[in-house]
Structure formats: C-alpha cells, structure tokens
C-alpha cells in the first residue's frame, strides 16, 4: 500500500470512475431508480462516493441484446473505496435487470462535459 502511495505523487487525488448501465426495458422509471439506488448503496457501503445518476431514459439499442431492442441508460460518476470496484462489478454481473454495464476510469483532467442530448425513444 505504501508503495502505491509512492508511485502517485498526489495521493489526495482520488480517481473518479464512471459507470454506465443498460437496465432492462421491462421495468418502469421507478424501478430503474430503485435498481440504480441499489448500486449507489453498494458504492457508498464500500467506501466510495456516488454522484447523482444521469438518466438518459429509454433508448433504442444499436443492436439486439438478449432479444431486447431498447433499454434504460443510466450514467453515474463515483469515487471508489478499496472494495468498491470488485464488489460493484460482481453485483452488476449477477443482476438480472442490468443488460450491460461498463465502468471506466475518468482522466483526472476530465471535467463534467455536457452529455449528448438524451434522445428518448419509446418503443
């Protein structure tokens, strides 16, 4: 652990991550919020800090996933504690109401850029 601190000159700079989830379209808005809330709890329980989720709404998928043509997109920024990433990814993988997920580390310089306009598609 001490070695990790040595390699990083600014230890205070905590990495920011971003998670994108595709939630199954069978749920309604409220259930999507609940699902996302569950993951926020996981992040916070493991010592991270979850930002406000950005709901893109229901969108058409570029291709079919599990015979579904659309899904709810949710993007959320967070900081991670020691166990956050392992735990979050594990739970995301086993969650049946998440079609796909992606967690990326944001570059430190990256400020909140305006997101692409949410094109809501109701199928």
């Amino acid at each position: 652990m001490a070695r990790e601190a040595d390699t990083r000159p600014e230890e205070a700079n905590i990495d920011t991550y971003e998670a994108m989830l595709i939630v199954i379209p069978e749920l309604d808005e409220e259930q999507v919020e609940n699902t996302v809330g569950r993951f926020r709890t996981i992040i916070e329980r493991t010592g991270g800090e979850a930002g406000e989720p950005n709901h893109w709404g229901r969108r058409k998928l570029a291709y079919e996933i599990d015979h579904r043509t659309d899904g709810f997109y949710v993007v959320m920024e967070f900081t991670a504690g020691e166990r956050t990433l392992v735990e979050l990814k594990r739970i995301l993988r086993v969650s049946d109401d998440v079609l796909r997920h992606m967690v990326v580390k944001l570059p430190p310089s990256y400020a909140h850029k305006p997101l692409p306009e949410t094109t809501e598609v109701t199928a």
């Binding site: 570029a62 996933i65 997109y73 993007v75 992606m102 944001l106 570059p107 310089s109 692409p116």
Partner: protein, 83 residues
C-alpha cells in the same frame, strides 16, 4: 515508408495536411458517450475509418477507435450495419 505530409505530390491530388479535429479543439478525452460525434469516424457499414480518411493524428485516432469500441459494447454504436 516515406510518409508524405507536405511533400510534393506523387501523382493524384496534392497533399494538404489538415490538423486533427481533436487537436484543434484541444480535446483531452475522447468520450465514448458522445456517440453522435463518433459517427463521423465510422463508415456507413459501421467500420472504423482509416486515419487517412479521418485525418486524425495517431494519438487521437487510437483514442477515437477505443471510444468507438466502447460505444459498440454499450450498444450506442452498431458493430455492423445492415446485416
């Protein structure tokens, strides 16, 4: 081998090096979420366009390609158009 940047044209159109659009706009991070912007760098088949077509610098071409691949994974962009 010899990359002709501004050298004399060897048949065909004269070369004119255009600055990479990301460098011009001083983009530090090519965001995979901005899939509409990434559409400019894929063919109508959905393939990643070559650098000589996109006019991106090596670094940004790489970053754009990875961003496209991330966007594909999240079904924001297609792997293949018109199967």
């Amino acid at each position: 081998m010899g990359r002709r940047r501004n050298g004399p044209p060897r048949g065909g159109r004269p070369t004119k090096s255009k600055p990479c659009v990301f460098c011009k706009e001083k983009v530090a991070y090519v965001d995979y979420k901005d899939y509409n912007m990434l559409r400019r760098f894929i063919s109508d088949r959905g393939k990643v366009r070559a650098r000589r077509v996109t006019g991106l610098c090596p670094q940004h071409q790489r970053e754009a390609a990875s961003a496209i691949k991330r966007a594909r994974e999240m079904a924001l962009l297609p792997y293949v158009v018109g199967r």
